[in-house]
Symmetry: C2
Subunit: 424 residues, 2 copies
Amino acid sequence: MKAEIINIGDEVITGHIVNTNAVWLAKRLLTIGIETPFITAVGDTVAHMEAVINGALRRVDLVILTGGLGPTDDDLTKRALVKVFRRNLVFHDEILEDIKVRYAARGIEMPEINQNQALLPQGATFLPNKFGSAVGILFEEDNKLCIALPGVPAEMKQIVDDELLPLLQKQIGSSVTYSRLVRTSGISESSLAEKIAPEIPMPDGVKLAYLAHIYGVDLRLTVNAEQTRLAGDLIEQPEGWLKRKLGNLVYGEDDQTLQSSVGALLVESNSTVALAESCTAGLIAGALADVPGSSRYLDRGFVTYSDQAKVDLLGVSKKTIKEHGAVSPETAEEMALGALKNAKTTYAISVTGIAGPDGGGDENGDGKPVGLTYIAIAHNTDNEIQVRSKKFLFGKDRALNRQRSVAAALNLLRLVLLGEEPFK
Amino acid sequence: MKAEIINIGDEVITGHIVNTNAVWLAKRLLTIGIETPFITAVGDTVAHMEAVINGALRRVDLVILTGGLGPTDDDLTKRALVKVFRRNLVFHDEILEDIKVRYAARGIEMPEINQNQALLPQGATFLPNKFGSAVGILFEEDNKLCIALPGVPAEMKQIVDDELLPLLQKQIGSSVTYSRLVRTSGISESSLAEKIAPEIPMPDGVKLAYLAHIYGVDLRLTVNAEQTRLAGDLIEQPEGWLKRKLGNLVYGEDDQTLQSSVGALLVESNSTVALAESCTAGLIAGALADVPGSSRYLDRGFVTYSDQAKVDLLGVSKKTIKEHGAVSPETAEEMALGALKNAKTTYAISVTGIAGPDGGGDENGDGKPVGLTYIAIAHNTDNEIQVRSKKFLFGKDRALNRQRSVAAALNLLRLVLLGEEPFK
């Protein structure tokens, strides 16, 4: 069975939101062996919606629409569906009853507009929505399945996991698509390809892809097979090869993130970490705390955006800032030492940089362009304190520079925890 | 002229990356009056790519592909293009020369694999890439334009802004699509619709859409007109009406973010702010620092993830934590007061909550479920110090709870800065 996902809404085609529904859904479908070769987004125009629904029904067996099921006038998915499938809308008392109960539980009167939510195309069955008023809608015609889901991510996800996937799993055979991510940080896509491509042993049917993102490059191995076990066997050889070849460039696999792998290493070594952040202003601490259970190693952090804050909270000397600047290895190292001392942790990471768009002094000839960033790590081993720093030259984009600083800081700490010398 | 954007790559259909290229590009095209009614994503299979390119060429005049132009074997866009347009690949010395110069400037030898980057389909012209080795490719056939761009966002964006948009602008007429966002926070989509829908004056041709996101709900007004001025006139009436009707629920318009509008209010009132974050662990400070120039009002912040950090850095009393718990209005207020005192700022915001998935004590009958969050704001006016707090009950999802806390904290500060009483 192959699927097409259609995301509906002017907002997904005019750039006002980033559509994360499709990728989440495609990933979920893949877990039960359904591939999604096509993802389409279309605006809130009934004629355009009809065109893409009809197009999808021609090329796949399973069409899943998301969005456009809200109660307001710009929600047109049902109108497109009744046109494509030539049906009327029918009122369902049980749906309205359920919405009323939900509002009552929150002590709010139900807005009248929610009446619209109880209308479904004739012959459709519905998939209950635990979190909202828009139920999922399911049609079957000419051996094709067409499903409409709300666009609110939490609602869509609940319906998919609780209702849709179990239902689809019954309909499909045993062939599965199995995929495995080997995740790297600290190396570019083309350098990775040069290391890997000429030598990697690839059993028939296994595909390799390079997926670059802000925290590094993922290597994805994919295979189709009759059973999960068989697929796993086929992937095992190239996967093992990649891990041996790439060593510590690999930080994890599949759902492991850079921050979760750093977290696991900290727990393993019974270590703790503190933060001293200038340009990232809390984003590294925030990323470490993404991981459930991070309180085992994350105790505190300092956002020292101003020079004075660096002096007050971290004990950076005014002289250092005056002589070397706030963006310098000297300041970065004093920041890390200050955080380590205050927090009494095993490690402290500091970041100071010129995120941009202003603040770069390159025009003044002091050699400090936008993008210049120093990251230091202080380490307390048996009361012997060490500090090392590293210079990075990122780009001109403020948001990107801050994200790159987070990634670089987490990766540096990971390498230190693995006993490497990443400061050379 | 209407466009279709086609994003190429297994990663965009299998859920390994969120595709932000399409929305960015659609937004950019709209600025020069080009609508994008269709966005399609397709995997790295040449036959599927041919199918969607041919489909797009049938329904629009402008087809823009992104992705699949890298040097590695899984980059197949050019192969699909030569099939669709029945052309050969031709080697361009000038492209390779340029890539070599770029590598030399960084002191790195060019990986041989980049030779591939100099091959273009016959008859195509190329759009230079300042940041990478994959140039943009442009075809014209039967009055249809087909453009292929690299998938790396920074590279794609540079080519679009520097090369593609100026080129397209020459080709199109004077009709423009004009849109305006009115951005709200602190009210749900259906409550907004109930306030607005029955009364809003809508001139012919103006469309209204509700776009919900984590920081609130955006109201988008769109109109097609011959000139920007005319379009602006048509939107003015409903826009003004929305702003009057919604008052302080509106935090900004168009590209203004919640954090940039808070920043503007802080600058306007010559105020400063400090942070004391537990569950958000730096994300509020990090969000405030998204805004260029935020150093005018953001001086420092405290990530106090552990109880001990709250005591050490913010002077929260052990007794308060013991008697009321770390997640309580009392602790939140002491956190805010501690940050205010240390940072000597006009305002301090604190957040303490149970982000989940664990840590909720509801099963123990202490009435503190996952999602329970307290936000406090301390304020120093003429050396008179006030502190107020508010309780929030978010959901079960850790990442969502932390993002909602950031949004709620920024919105509370915004309302306080506007002289409201948001703690009732």
